[in-house]
Symmetry: C2
Subunit: 114 residues, 2 copies
Amino acid sequence: MASRTATELLHPDRAQLRFTTVLAALGDPVRLAIVARLADVEPDGELACTTFALPVSKSTQSGHFKTLREAGVIRQRDEGTRRLNRLRRDDLDARFPGLLDLAIPQGRQVIAGW
Amino acid sequence: MASRTATELLHPDRAQLRFTTVLAALGDPVRLAIVARLADVEPDGELACTTFALPVSKSTQSGHFKTLREAGVIRQRDEGTRRLNRLRRDDLDARFPGLLDLAIPQGRQVIAGW
């Protein structure tokens, strides 16, 4: 059993999501770009961490994914050696209607500027 | 000339506002509460820093106001010994429509929980 797959990935429930924590998670260009990319895969589509090609180091990237997961913005699960990411659109739309609709176009602009 | 009134208070122009910087500024309960209080004074109303009665130390409070000003969320000016704060609603609504409408009720909830 690899330590990677043994790591428990904690996710806040929908009711536990906090507006300020979500805003702080979205308040970074790299994290906002991750959200926009996840939003642009088909509904409930998943992307492996390794597919994002972000302009930061691998460890920095891992930290960004963790921040998004712990804030409740994304859901992560391990499949073999891959860590898959999915946007928690339903939960976020239910708790903070309109926030993702504001954030996603801004994230696309970040990506367009890279 | 007091050093306080001689301090130059820098404000980003409307065109310089960055979405992620504004989100990061709003992504804190105390700062979100400040925004909600400023939103609830009459249009273009100003409040002195000393009137907020926030559950943090004076120096922490000053840091929060500075973060909001540098992100472009509030405008500050000195009048005698008072530092007055005003929400930049027009600028924020022009650049990020809907964001304040989402944030202000959440800030009111923070205040209600104190």
